[in-house]
């Protein structure tokens, strides 16, 4: 039986033959002889039949096992092929979503810079007019030039803000003012929010302690939560579309909340929302919240989601407040 299991039908029958001969010799009277007495004949035949059947069944089972193994191997190959395909699609989607958001960001940046630029050019024209008057209106000219300087400075500030947003600073954590960070991001998304008819409100407490964090990573998290919130309100028509960003200091941690008046979270979605590749967006790749959570956890904080009582969702994260003394 054992030989049939491992060796297949041929070796199974060979084993049956050997064992039959041995049984005959040792256990079937007359003992120590290959001849069979008539009284033991029935017993001997029964043994042979049993051995043959057992061997047959056993080798059949072995065949089934092999087929199953083959099928499993095939399945494994197919799965890995499919996975490779999916990864490729995933990579394409990632690239696509990056391109799309870059397009949106570019439009936003262009607008942010175009506004002060328009003001400068228009003031410049006015300046010439004030100077061309007879007598030249020097007071108005001076005021106009002052405003041009303000607007030019503002355009420069927009640029350096964007540079800070994109430049990968040293991975070392800096002391950050969360209010400032949120202010930068809301300014950055203002134009996009107007386009989507979403009101962005902030509820910040002045002079909160600074936290030690990677600026770019934290910006990524807050930007991601804000963009998610804005996406979630896309279908909202029965109430104002709004996004509220608030920061509170709570004992030993800061709590940053991003609330939206969007579709909200059903319990099933809420359970999976931080899983990698889970997404509710038609073109999403489902990495944003998963990455955000790992960033926050790397900062020894927590990120979680809950439904908003008045409709929508609340995403909030904590960041530990460390005393500056404990920092080396």
């Amino acid at each position: 039986m054992a030989s049939a299991w491992f060796g297949g039908t041929g070796s199974g029958f060979f084993a049956v033959l050997i064992s039959t001969a041995l049984i005959d010799y040792f256990f079937v009277p007359p003992f120590h002889s290959f001849s069979i007495s008539t009284s033991a004949e029935a017993y001997f035949i029964a043994f042979v039949v049993c051995a043959l059947v057992a061997s047959w069944v056993s080798s059949g089972k072995k065949k089934g096992e092999e087929a199953l193994k083959e099928a499993l191997d095939l399945l494994e190959v197919r799965v890995s092929e499919r996975t490779a395909e999916l990864l490729k699609t995933q990579a394409e989607l990632t690239r696509l979503s990056q391109v799309l958001s870059m397009g949106e960001l570019t439009a936003s940046i262009a607008h942010e810079i175009n506004q002060p630029l328009t003001a400068v050019v228009t003031h410049g024209h006015a300046c010439i007019e004030w100077l061309s008057a007879s007598p030249p209106n020097l007071e108005k000219t001076r005021q106009t030039v002052e405003r041009m300087i303000e607007d030019g400075t503002r355009a420069g500030a927009v640029l350096s803000r964007i540079r800070a947003l994109f430049k990968k600073e040293s991975p070392a954590k800096d002391w950050l003012d969360t209010n400032e960070l949120i202010h930068e991001l809301t300014t950055f998304l203002r134009d996009e929010a107007i386009r989507r008819r979403i009101l962005i409100r902030t509820d910040l407490v002045p002079s909160l302690p600074k936290v030690k964090a990677d600026r770019v990573q934290l910006q990524q998290v807050v930007l991601n939560l804000m963009m998610n919130g804005m996406d979630a309100t896309a279908e909202t028509t029965d109430r104002p579309r709004e996004l509220l960003i608030s920061v509170r200091g709570k004992e030993s941690e800061l709590v940053v909340r991003v609330e939206d008046s969007g579709v909200g979270l059903d319990p099933e979605t809420a359970a999976k929302i931080f899983d990698p590749f889970f997404t509710t967006k038609p073109h999403g790749i489902g990495m944003g919240l998963s990455i955000s959570r790992s960033i926050i956890e790397a900062h020894e904080g927590r990120l979680w989601a809950s439904p908003r009582p008045s409709g929508g969702a609340i995403f909030q994260f904590t960041l530990p407040i460390q005393s500056r003394d404990s920092d080396g």
Binding site: L117, V120, H125, W130, K140
Partner: protein, 207 residues
């Protein structure tokens, strides 16, 4: 006196842009009033003077293009000059079809803005003049009796007194008397002038 001066209303949510436009208009002797949103403009008390609206397309709340529709629905026919940083063709043609004077891309040149503003003010002056004329004529029509109005409506179609009399069941002499009263009350010197007046009144008289 100041209230008769032409006024340019500037609506842009960016304070520095609207201030710059206001400064430029002021530098060429035009009066500008600035607003941060369409709602703010809508709620404001506007002087009864020729005016035009310099309107940013992208605004919080009701945006520029939507506001153009709101104004049209409310029969506010102030000429509009759009300014935008994101002028795409469909947006531009939609605004122009709806009667905008000009669609300017930020940053724009002084000549472009001033030409559009003067064009807008001229249009508004003409519109105001016509509206004033119509309202004078309207008040004259209101002095006419029902019978005189009937006679006037037929006179301007070119019918002679006899035909009018036949249509209204009046004698030719009676028609002649009504007709001279109409000419007198409407202050029309000739039949031709009465016809012109009736043309101007047309949309209202026929209601």
């Amino acid at each position: 006196m100041a209230d008769n001066r032409p006024t340019i209303f500037v609506v842009d949510d960016d304070a520095s842009v609207r201030d710059a436009i206001s400064n430029l208009l002021e530098s060429v002797g035009l009066r500008a009033l600035v607003f941060g949103s369409t709602e703010e403009f809508w709620k404001s008390a506007r002087p009864d003077a020729p005016g035009c609206l310099v309107l940013d397309v992208r605004l919080p709340g009701v945006n520029g293009l939507e506001f153009q529709e709101v104004l049209a629905k409310n029969a506010v026919s102030i000429p509009i000059i759009f300014i935008t940083a994101h002028g795409d063709v469909p947006m531009t043609s939609r605004a122009m079809k709806a009667g905008a004077i000009e669609f300017l891309m930020k940053p724009f040149q002084k000549e472009e803005l001033l030409a559009a503003v003067h064009n807008g003010l001229d249009r508004d002056r003409i519109r105001r003049h016509e509206r004033a004329e119509v309202s004078v004529l309207q008040s004259r029509v209101e002095q006419l009796t029902a019978r005189e109005r009937e006679v006037m409506n037929l006179v301007v179609t070119g019918l002679i007194n006899k035909e009018i009399g036949a249509q209204l069941g009046l004698s030719e002499v009676t028609v002649k008397i009504h007709r001279s009263r109409v000419m007198q009350k409407m202050e029309a010197a000739s039949l031709a002038e009465l016809v012109r007046m009736s043309e101007k009144l047309k949309p209202r008289v026929r209601i």
